[in-house]
C-alpha cells in the first residue's frame, strides 16, 4: 500500500471513529434532555459493558463458538470477587491476570 493511500485510510478510519464520539456531545450537551431519555441512557453503561464482558468470557475461536467453561470464564469468578470486594480497578486487573495465568497453567 502506498504511503498516501495509507494516510487516506487512517484519516477515513479516524473520521468515522470520531464522529460517533462527538455527535451526541454536540447535540445533547447544549439542551435539557427529556426524562425518559436520561433514564434510558442510564441503562446503557451496564448493557454495553456486560455485552463486552460476556463476549470476552464465553466466546472463543474463529469462527467463534460458545465455550462456557474455560480458563477465561473460570478466572472470572475470583476476579469478580476481588472487584466487588475492593472496588479497585487496579487490584482487579492485577489479580485477574495472576489468576488467569495460574488457571492456564493448571488447565
Amino acid at each position: 500500500m502506498q504511503e498516501t493511500d495509507y494516510l487516506l485510510l487512517v484519516i477515513g478510519m479516524g473520521l468515522v471513529t470520531y464522529i460517533p464520539r462527538y455527535l451526541p456531545l454536540f447535540l445533547l450537551a447544549q439542551r435539557e434532555l427529556p426524562c425518559w431519555l436520561i433514564e434510558w441512557l442510564d441503562m446503557i453503561p451496564a448493557a454495553i459493558l456486560s455485552a463486552l464482558v460476556f463476549s470476552e468470557l464465553f466466546l472463543s475461536g474463529s469462527p467463534r463458538h460458545l465455550e462456557l467453561i474455560s480458563a477465561k470464564s473460570l478466572a472470572a469468578i475470583p476476579t469478580l470477587f476481588v472487584a466487588l470486594r475492593t472496588g479497585s480497578l487496579g487490584w482487579t486487573v492485577i489479580s485477574g491476570m495472576a489468576v488467569f495465568w495460574m488457571a492456564e497453567k493448571i488447565l
Binding site: 493511500d5 447544549q30 426524562c35 441512557l41 442510564d42 441503562m43 454495553i48 463486552l52 487496579g90 485477574g96
Partner: protein, 235 residues
C-alpha cells in the same frame, strides 16, 4: 482545589486503565509491525483512530489485503458503540463549550467512559479531571503501541496472564455499574443477547445490538416496576 490538584486526581483514577492498555498497546505494536506497518504508520493510526479493538481488526484486514473502504466501514461499525457512551456522558457535560466537547470526544473509550461516568455520578468530579483521564489513557495507548513496535518481539505473547487484562478491566468496570437489581437484570439480558447474537451475526455489530436490546429491556422493566411518570430517577 486548583487545576493541578484536579489533574492529579485524574491521574489517580486513570492509572489502572493505563496498566490495562500497556499490554494491549504492546500487542498491537507487534502485530502491526508484522503486517508491515512502520513506526510512523503505527503512530498515525493510534493518534488518529485511538480505538483499540478496531485497530487490531484494521491490521488484520490490512494483512489480508482488504479494500480500504471495507476497512473504514468495519471501523465505523466496530466503533459505533461510542455513540451510546458519548450520549450517556452528555448528561454530565451540559452546557460545556464546543471546544471542550470536541477535545473531550476524542478520548471517549470503553474504559475512560466507564470511569468518568462513575465519578460524575458520585459527584465532585470535574470536567478537567475527566479530560485528564481521557488524555492520560490516550498517551498511554499511543506510547505503548510505539513501544510494542520496538520491544514487543521480546515479550512472549500470552505471558503473565497479559491476555486477561482487558477481560478483568471490563469485569470490574461492569461491577461499578451494578447499582441495583434493575442494572443487574439489564446486564444479564444484554450479556446473554450479545453471546446469542454473536453466534448468528458475523462481525462486531452484536455489541451494539445487544446493548440497545438490554438497555431498552431494562428501561421498560424499570418503568413497569415504578409505574410513575415525570420523575427522573438514577441521577
Amino acid at each position: 482545589m486548583n487545576r493541578f490538584d484536579l489533574i492529579l486526581r485524574g491521574i489517580k483514577a486513570a492509572w489502572p486503565i493505563c496498566i490495562g492498555y500497556l499490554p494491549l498497546g504492546f500487542a498491537f505494536g507487534v502485530l502491526a509491525q508484522k503486517a508491515g506497518l512502520d513506526l510512523l504508520d503505527i503512530a498515525l493510526m493510534s493518534v488518529l483512530v485511538y480505538a483499540g479493538s478496531s485497530q487490531f481488526i484494521a491490521v488484520a484486514m490490512l494483512s489480508s489485503a482488504a479494500a480500504p473502504l471495507s476497512i473504514i466501514l468495519t471501523t465505523f461499525i466496530v466503533n459505533l458503540r461510542h455513540f451510546l457512551m458519548s450520549s450517556s456522558l452528555a448528561v454530565y457535560l451540559h452546557g460545556e463549550s464546543r471546544r471542550f466537547l470536541s477535545l473531550f470526544a476524542y478520548g471517549v473509550t470503553d474504559e475512560s467512559f466507564a470511569i468518568n461516568l462513575v465519578r460524575f455520578r458520585e459527584g465532585g468530579w470535574d470536567r478537567y479531571q475527566a479530560l485528564a483521564v481521557n488524555q492520560l489513557t490516550n498517551f498511554t495507548w499511543i506510547g505503548s503501541t510505539i513501544l510494542g513496535r520496538f520491544a514487543g518481539q521480546f515479550v512472549l505473547a500470552g505471558s503473565y496472564g497479559i491476555d486477561y487484562a482487558l477481560s478483568a478491566m471490563f469485569l470490574c468496570l461492569l461491577t461499578f455499574q451494578l447499582r441495583g437489581r434493575i442494572y443487574l437484570l439489564t446486564a444479564i439480558i444484554s450479556g446473554a443477547a450479545a453471546v446469542a447474537i454473536s453466534l448468528v451475526v458475523s462481525g462486531n455489530s452484536f455489541v451494539i445490538m445487544a446493548s440497545l436490546l438490554g438497555a431498552t429491556a431494562g428501561f421498560a422493566l424499570k418503568r413497569y416496576a415504578r409505574r410513575r411518570r415525570g420523575l427522573c430517577a438514577g441521577n
